[in-house]
Every structure is written in C-alpha cells, then in structure tokens.
C-alpha cells in the first residue's frame, strides 16, 4: 500500500495538529480494557430477550405471557398493550401522511416486518430469557406483505399503517433552474428507465445493546448504551415516556462501530426503561447479529425511475429530471429526513444547473430504514456518477473527459449549487488526476490487452463523491414546515483541575473516530503543553452537561463541530488563564503574557511564570484576595454553532451543510467472463477533507470507508423474498469482506482548507460510497466490448455480472434521443458502439 502526498505550501508548523500522534484510545483497547456496553454489569440485573415476529405482516390476535412468567428464572415481561398504555407514540418527523404513523417500543396490534419485537422477557440468565421466550404464545392473522417499493401504492396492495391511509409516507418535488430550457438546448436526451441503489448497511461488529437502571427515588434512568446520537434518542424517548429529558441519563464509553446504524435504537431503549422501572432491577439487553440484521438501520434503498438527462454532444451536462422512490421499510425512525438530506449534494460534483427530482418515500414490510454511512447523499451521488458514466457510455465519450468537463472547478469555490448549498473548497479534477496516476492510467490499454490474453476482461471505473458534513437541521423543515429544528451544535468543556490537570469533556459518542486524540491535539496546541497533559474523558455522559440538542457522532461533523467546540472552550480557558495570571502578577495586561511550557509567563520576563497547577490551585482552593470582578472559573463550557440560516421552505433553497470533503476513487477490475467472477486488481483512493488534524486517522477512515464500499458493491445486500423473509440475516449469507478480499490499495490526498471553519477542517468519515460508484463503473467498462450492458444496480455480485454478459439488454434500458439534431434516435438497452449496434451477445 502506498501513499502519495501532494506538493504543499509551507505553513506555520504547530506542534500537535497535523501530526500522526499515536492514539490515546489504543492502550486500553489493545489490552481488552475498553468498556463496551455488554461489558457493563450490575448486581441482580435481568437479561432481556425480545420475542420477534416471524411474519412480515400480520394482525396480532392474542398474546399470552403467562407460561413465560411462570418460568422460575423469569423476572417479568412487557407487551405492546402495556407499552401503549404507558407511552405515547414516538414523535414523527414527517408531515402527513407519514405523520400519522404510530410507532411504539413494541408492536401494538400488528406486526409489520419479520423480526419486529413484540414481547420482552427478562430473566435471571441470558439462556433462561431465551428459553422463556419460547413459552410466550402469540396468535397471528397473517396478511399479505409488500416488499417491492415500486408496487407499494398499487391498487389492492395491503396497507401497512392504516393510520396513514396508505403506504405513501412522504413526497416532495424539488425543482431548480429551467428544465424546459435545458431540454430545449440539449443536443441529446439520455433516458434511463430504472436505476436501483440496494439495501445494505455497515454492520458494525458490535451490535446494539443497553443496560438500564432506574432510580425510583428521583425517577431517573441511567441508560448505558451504544446509541451514537443520544441527543436524538432523548428527544424521541422523553415525550414518548412522558418524562423530562433530564430523567434520561445516557452513558457510553467505547462503541464498537456505529456508521449511523446505532442512531435509532430508541424503541428498544424505551422497552428496557419500562422494564427497569416495572421490575425494579437493572435490565440488560444484548442484540445478536441476526436481531441486528432483521431489525436495525437498513440503509435507504432507492430507485431512480424515468431519468432524463439533457446533454450537449460534447458531453456538457445541462440538467436532469428523475423520480426517486425510497423504500423506508416498516417504520419511519429517522425518515423521512433522507428525503431532503440528499439535497446537500444535489448536483453531485458537477456544474449542471437545471434539476428536478420528485422524491417519494413509501413503507414496505421490511426492516425500518435509518441512517447508514453516507446517509442519503451516497445514494444520490451514486446516481449522479451512474448518469455520468451512462452518458459517456451512450455518447461514446471518455468518462474521464466528461467528468473534467463537468466538474465544478477549484477556482469556482466557494460554489453555490442550484439549491443554495455552498461547496466550500476542493479540486476534483486534480484529485482525479492523482487517482488515475496511482493506477497507471496511461498504461491502461496495455493492461487491458494483457488481461485479455489471460482470458480476463479488464475494466477501469471512477467513483467521485462528496462527504457533506455539519448539518443544518433546518433542512428538516423542507420535509415538514411545522418542525422547529434548525442549525446545529456541539459542546465541549475544558477545565484546569486543582492540581493543574487539563480535563476535556465532549458531547460526542465516538465509535472509533479517535476523538480523545484529535481533541487533545487541538487543546495542546492552544495551551502550549504536551498532549500527554491533556486528559480527554472517554465517551459520553449526559451528567457531564457537556451536550446539547444535537450532540452525538454522526454525519461527518466532529472535525468541525466537536473540534470547534473544543477550540472555543480551550480559547476561553486560555483567556481566563491569562486574565488570572495578570491579576496574580499584580495587574499585568493579557497582551504582555503568553502560555508556554505548561504554564503562563510574562513575554518580557520568562522568570515570571505560573504553572497550570498553580492556576488551578488558586481558583479552586486559594482564592482569597483576588479582585472581586475577576471573571475566571477555569472551567469553560463552549457551544459551537455553525453559521446557518433557516432554509427557504418554499423554494427549497438554502445552505444545508457547512463543509464538503471529497473523495475520488479509481478501481481496476478483472472479470472472468465464463463465471462473472471478478477481482479488484488495483485501487486508488484520493481524499480531501481540508486541514488534517491527524493524517493517519483521516487515512484510516478513508480506508475503512473504502473497504465497506467494496463489500457493498460486491456482496453485501439485505435481500427479501416475496413473503418478507430476510434471506441474508447473518454473516453466513451476508458476506462482509475479510482480509483476503482486500485489493492492493494506494492513497493520495489534497488539503483544501475550508474557509468556513475555525480550524480549516472539514468533517469526514462517512466517505460517500466512492468505492461503490467506482466498482459499478469498472464493471460497466469491463463489459463494454462484450455486450455493453449498462450497470443499473449498485450491487454487482458474480451472478449479476454473468447475467449482464449473457443478456446485456436486460436491466437499465437506456435510450438516447437526439433533440434538434440530424442524428437518428438510438435505442436499445445495451451497447451503443455505433449506429449498427443492437444487442450484442
């Protein structure tokens, strides 16, 4: 694996930021001393097992828990009936009809997907809870299931949520520019019948879990859990449980991966809370792999139907219209925010101005969808990359040239997109060049011939993507104008303790993103001390009061929000230290002082030095004689707020995210045409996330995102049969990449600092699925001279590649029509290598 660094202008060398400082987290993790939620134990705790629905869709005729309750080791149970009496349905983000969905902690009256929790059983041991769950008797009246979003609104199809009156959950039309003018100006219109972004997720190795204790004296729950967005969980749980948010204390230390998939565990957490109170004992819930696959956080499955692209003959893209059909699964847990979040990257990385997207989200009898790494932007960016590649394919143009012709240029930055988002910085063409260089693009023809001599079809594909970070939650009003959310925030506190110890608390919930380390780097640079002197508390605890409404770790924002809060708090602390020292030195102004060597000294006289320990001691324990108006606590709390306005709901216009990291990947594959099997033989990933606080950590995120994207591109799918049974409910059938599956990887980077953030950083981490875009493009390229099939699905396992080789016309069904030109219309699903082409075998 090699890494390429670009030339860069010299900038002032700071001691800690920009360095590959070894991680503070590692010492405990390599010794198995991390504290993950299942490691937390309480005396007398009961183990919880959920009885889950075997049907995709059914009325619950009756539930009898008596036999389970009689089991000698069972402490108690919880049913939907109790939940409906004790709680109100979860708040729905959506406007009508989705607003009318009733969602509770357990199924009430009806089950809507295989794996839906119906009854909770709590017992003395894990095994006993599992055994007793088999004693719960449930009678069902099965109903037909709907599993294909394209048919969710057909006549006669079963309605999943009667309260919503049908399976439509949300719809909205987005349109900017002048579509009619764009299509009139076009030389050609490329029509793509159907593209499909498949259902999968990031399967963090640790599944969800919780240990909930209830303090009956003060009516408060302590929820040890690995939920990665406790701010959201609290907002959902408090009103449902009819308690104030301060009654819900969230505590986590180490989380075994999140990737967005640990945001919507609030229903299970409510069940745990109710049981902890009912049984007056701590309740422990471990989610097993199959439970997770059946019920948690499938990524948005999205169809792009009837796409039309207006193009000039030279490949300049003018605009597109499409119908995005999103399959939300059985409940709206974080949805329909996916219906607007894609708009952070409306034009992808391209300059087109005229865009129309009709977004429709429907319910189906499948697991509820909720955020997955690259949430909703990945699906849209995949779409734009497919469009680029298919246009290039159909017009016989070079995909590299088409990208460069249409990429937003570095000199156009900051760039305002058709819907008012502002891309802060980036040089996409340069990244593409670096990536192509890394895979020796110039030698491609030779490589192709050499592979052909071995009977292999070589393909090269480009995947470019954006990682928009730091959300403006005001975009939720484009989904539902009644919502009162906007902006964003994150909190940090930094204090000097009585012995001068620097202690930092964060509102974030890292699941591997190295927050303790990068936060310490920022603090150490400001306080001019060693990184070893900065102690960042591990994890999250709402008792620290170091959180606000949007606290958590999601949506690629820590480097901006979290570090912005750390910087703000540390600068406050620095200023207070200077003020205190000034007072202690007898009225010296702050400008005459500086921080150095773990203390504060006079610039003109370094002998006048007050170590941090003295500062801490004075304020905490020795403060007599200090000026009355001295506003110094040495305990600084800062709330970072990005500069956002509430978007224009009418025009659906406004800045939805603060920063835009970018990645360009190139994949080189070799296909075995006899079997459809393919290998990735070469791979380059180039990223730009602005200023890198810890380059090694950034690169680690890029690599991890790449590996997950490659898994999703080749094997990982949540596939349902027509009865709503999940055919990939565990790691046996849902293959995630292992060590042998990894291609050789080369990485490169560019640093285009963000002009909008205090550190020049951009959030990064999600990645945007560039690996998926690149592999799809590579497969299409490999098949170009062998049937010319167009890749239309984001997942291309071997059998699909084989099918594309054998039946190229099946699939995307692309049509190119000339508009106002003398060229004849070209049609047919497959190759377009020339006017004579029909479907080649």
């Amino acid at each position: 694996m090699t890494t390429v660094a670009p030339e860069r202008t010299e900038q002032a060398q700071e001691t800690w930021k920009g360095q590959n400082v070894p991680r503070k987290e590692d010492r405990r993790l390599v010794q198995g001393q991390g504290v993950f939620v299942d490691d937390v134990k309480r005396h007398g705790m009961g183990y919880l097992h959920f009885v889950r629905s075997p049907y995709a869709h059914a009325h619950i005729a009756s539930i009898d828990v008596s036999k389970a309750e009689e089991h000698p080791a069972v402490y108690g149970t919880l049913t939907g009936e109790e939940v409906a009496a004790l709680t109100d349905p979860f708040f729905q983000i959506s406007s009508a009809p989705g607003a009318n969905v009733k969602d509770y902690a357990l199924a009430v009256g009806k089950v809507r997907y295989v794996g839906e929790p119906i009854v909770a059983v709590v017992a003395e041991t894990r095994e006993a809870a599992r055994d007793a769950s088999e004693l719960v008797e449930i009678e069902y009246e099965p109903l037909d299931a709907i599993t294909d979003a394209r048919h969710a609104r057909d006549d006669g199809v079963p309605t999943i949520h009667e309260d919503a009156g049908g399976n439509l959950m949300w719809e909205g039309v987005y349109e900017w520019g002048d579509l009619d003018a764009a299509f009139a100006e076009a030389d050609k219109v490329v029509k793509i019948d159907e593209l499909h972004f498949h259902r999968f997720n990031s399967t963090p190795l640790e599944c969800d879990g919780a240990l909930v204790e209830y303090n009956r004296g003060v009516g408060q729950w302590t929820i040890h859990t690995n939920n990665q967005f406790p701010g959201f969980a609290a907002i959902m749980m408090g009103p449902a449980m009819r308690v104030g948010l301060d009654k819900l204390r969230f505590v986590t230390q180490d989380i075994g991966g999140g990737f967005g998939n640990k945001i919507t565990s609030h229903p299970q957490l409510v069940a745990c809370c109710l049981l902890a109170r009912k049984l007056n004992r701590p309740v422990q819930w471990t989610e097993w792999r199959t439970d997770f696959h059946l019920s948690m956080s499938h990524g948005n499955e999205r169809w792009f139907l009837e796409t039309e692209v207006a193009v000039k003959s030279d490949g300049t893209l003018l605009g597109f219209r499409t119908k995005a059909l999103d399959d939300a699964g059985a409940y709206l847990r974080y949805e329909p925010l996916g219906g607007v979040i894609w708009a952070q990257v409306t034009p992808g990385m391209y300059k087109w101005q005229h865009i129309r997207l009709e977004f429709t989200q429907v319910a189906t009898n499948k697991a509820p969808v909720s955020p997955n790494r690259g949430y909703s932007r990945m699906q849209h960016l995949w779409f734009t990359e497919r469009v680029i590649d298919i246009v290039a394919h159909e017009l016989d143009l070079d995909p590299v040239e088409v990208r460069k012709r249409n990429y937003i240029k570095a000199e156009d930055m900051p760039y305002t997109t058709p819907n008012g988002c502002v891309y802060d910085s980036g040089d996409y063409a340069k990244m593409l060049d670096i990536a192509l260089d890394l895979v020796d693009y110039r030698g491609l023809a030779g490589r192709r011939a050499e592979a052909a001599a071995r009977g292999r079809l070589l393909g090269l594909g480009i995947g470019s993507t954006l990682d928009s970070g730091t959300n403006n939650f005001g975009q939720s009003r484009l989904i539902n104008p009644e919502l009162q959310f906007s902006g964003n925030n994150e909190v940090a506190t930094v204090k000097l303790d009585i012995f001068g110890e620097i202690v930092v608390t964060l509102g974030t919930t890292p699941q591997g993103q190295s927050h303790e380390t990068t936060a310490a780097q920022v603090v150490a640079d400001i306080l001019k001390c060693s990184i070893d002197d900065v102690h960042v508390r591990a994890g999250h605890d709402s008792y620290w009061n170091s959180h606000a409404g949007f606290s958590g770790t999601y949506a690629s924002q820590f480097a901006v929000t979290g570090l912005g809060a750390v910087k703000g708090a540390t600068e406050m602390l620095r200023d207070q230290i200077l003020t205190l020292a000034g007072a202690v030195f007898g009225g010296v102004p702050p400008e005459a002082l500086e921080l150095a060597d773990g203390g504060v000294r006079m610039r003109e006289n370094h002998e006048a030095f007050l170590p941090f320990m003295a500062c801490g001691a004075i304020i905490n324990a020795n403060n007599a004689g200090l000026p009355e108006d001295l506003d110094v606590t040495l305990n600084c709390r800062y709330v970072y707020r990005p500069p956002f306005e509430v978007p224009d709901v009418e025009r659906k216009y406004g800045n939805l995210t603060l920063t835009y990291a970018s990645q360009v990947h190139v994949a080189v594959i070799e296909v075995d045409p006899e079997t459809g099997y393919y290998d990735i033989v070469d791979y380059a990933a180039v990223d730009d996330c602005g200023r890198r606080i810890n380059p090694q950590i950034v690169e680690g995120q890029v690599m991890g995102a790449t590996a997950q994207a490659l898994g999703a591109a080749t094997h990982e799918q949540f596939v349902y049969d027509e009865d709503g049974n999940l055919l990939t409910p565990n790691f046996y059938d849902y293959h995630v990449p292992h060590a042998l599956d990894m291609p050789p990887l080369q990485t490169g980077y560019v640093e285009s600092p963000s002009p909008f953030t205090s550190l020049g950083t951009k959030g990064m981490g999600e990645g945007g699925g560039a690996g998926i875009h690149a592999v799809c493009a590579a497969v299409q390229d490999a098949l170009r001279e062998h049937g010319g099939a167009v890749v239309w699905d984001s997942c291309n396992p071997y059998h699909r590649v084989w099918e594309m080789l054998n039946d190229p016309a099946k699939g995307a069904r692309v049509q190119v029509t000339g508009v106002g030109s003398t060229e004849p219309a070209k049609s047919g699903g497959a190759g377009s290598a020339g006017p004579e082409s029909g479907t080649d075998a």
């Binding site: 006899e674 079997t675 459809g676 059938d733 059998h799 099918e803």
Partner: protein
C-alpha cells in the same frame, strides 16, 4: 445465540461413545462443533445430549499404507490434514482443506464432521466422492464400510444412523486430482464446486447443485465431453440469494472443465 439445555458426555473410548449414542436417540456426536454448535445457537436443531468425540484417540491419526492408501481418522482436523506429511500422498486433500473457512475453523473442524454434516455447500463431500473414498461406520453390531454414493444420502443426511459413528475415511492411492469452485468472497462458502480425479478413468463430482454430490464419469477429459456430461445430468440446482438455478447449472459446466484441467496439471 443461546443454546437449549443439553446434556454432555465426554467418553474415553469409542465403545463408550457408541453406548451413549445407542441409549438415547436424541444424542448427537460433537466433532469439531464448527457446524453443530452454530445449528444449536440458532436453535435449528437441539440434541438432547452431546457426545464429545474430541477425547477419542481411536478416531484420530492419518496412516499411509504401503499401497498408497490413506486412512484418516474421522476426528482429524483440517489443520492436521494440511500439516500432515502422510496426507501429502494425496495433495488435493490439503489443498482443499486449506480453502475451508479460516484458520480458527480449520483448527477444530474435522473431516468426519464435514462429511457427516453433508451440507450441500461443504467442500469435502464432492471431493471425497470424486476420489472414490470409502467410509467406515461403527455401531453396536461392529463395523461396515460403504462407498461415497452409499454414504451421502440427502441434505444433512448420511448412512451414519442412530447409535453409529463414522470412524475413518479411506482414500485410495492416486494423485491426479483437481478442485474448482466459485465462492462467496475469496475462499468463502461455495456457490458451486467441482472435484475431479483422473486415476484411471475420469471421475467428477459436483457440489452445491443437488442434495448430495453429483458424480459423473465423462467419456473423456475433453472440455466438450465434460460439459456434455454435466448437461446430460439434467441438473436441477437450488436457487437462492447467491445464485439462480441457471447460474448454478452454468457454473457446474465451467467448473467441471476447470477441475479436470486442474487434475491434468497436478
């Protein structure tokens, strides 16, 4: 993930093991556990009692006879086969064992367990069938030995009955063997597999296309003849999330040819 209550015995002799199995028809042999324990975690199958064979030296060991015949104790692990100099007399054995799952599984999983499970996607049933392996089964009435086509009877079903145990697998002498598979990820679960043996006439066994390995004897090792032999078998393979029936049928032809080619090169 959590097993049902089960009784557990660790016999110290084959005779003792057979006795326990005969006394309780809800008792099952526990070999490597790399399949059975997962089945029990899923509660897809819950024996009343487990008879742990891991203490039975009688079931271990690899012997190479003067005539080149290999005798492998049923409790020989994949790792032991890979490391064994005796097993190198039939190199395909170690080669295929090295493709099974991962090193942790190979350290516990056994050749006997693999054969007796007879999961259609297992590597060893088609290989053993192609090699003409013979299976020795011990019971209350003594021992009997059956060939592969009388051993593999159905999905998860073999000739080993209640109260019986597979004790050893005998592989005749030979060296010209091949194996080809398309798997889920590199060296993953087989989607379709093919094993070939060219000692004397060509013998081919296809895996993942039927309940048991499909054994074919093509008229020649010619690619066309091999493909024709597969077509003549009129396969009706299962369709699942990884492959359609058509795709499996097609792969069977391609992999049969490749397995033969591998055998010719070996």
């Amino acid at each position: 993930m959590l097993l049902r209550e089960v009784a557990y015995a660790k016999p110290e002799s084959l005779a003792e093991a057979l006795e326990i199995l005969a006394a309780d028809d809800g008792a099952r042999a526990l070999a490597g556990g790399q399949t059975l324990i997962n089945v029990m975690k899923a509660r897809a199958g819950s024996p009343d009692a487990l008879v742990d064979l891991n203490g039975l030296d009688e079931l271990k060991g690899i012997e190479l006879g003067a005539d080149g015949t290999l005798e492998l104790g049923a409790m020989t692990t994949y790792s032991e086969i890979i490391a064994s100099s005796e097993a190198r007399a039939r190199p395909i054995l170690g080669e295929v064992c090295a493709q099974i799952a991962d090193v942790q599984v190979r350290n516990r999983g056994t050749i006997g367990g693999n054969a007796c499970t007879n999961d259609p996607t297992n590597h060893l049933p088609p290989l053993l069938a192609a090699l003409g392996a013979r299976f020795t089964i011990a019971g209350a009435d003594g021992e009997r030995t059956v060939p592969a086509d009388e051993f593999f009877l159905g999905v998860y079903l073999t000739a080993v009955g209640t109260g019986e145990l597979l004790t050893r697998i005998t592989i005749p002498a030979g060296r010209n063997d091949g194996f080809a598979a398309v798997t889920l990820g590199i060296e993953g679960t087989c989607i379709v597999s093919a094993a070939a043996s060219l000692n004397g006439s060509a013998r081919l066994a296809l895996g993942c296309v039927d309940a048991v390995p499909v054994v074919l004897t093509p008229s020649s090792t010619d690619a066309d003849a091999v493909r024709q032999a597969v077509r003549d078998a009129s396969l009706d393979p299962p369709a699942d999330v990884h492959a359609s029936a058509d795709y499996r049928r097609h792969l069977a032809e391609v992999l049969a040819v490749r397995a033969i080619e591998h055998a010719q090169r070996s």
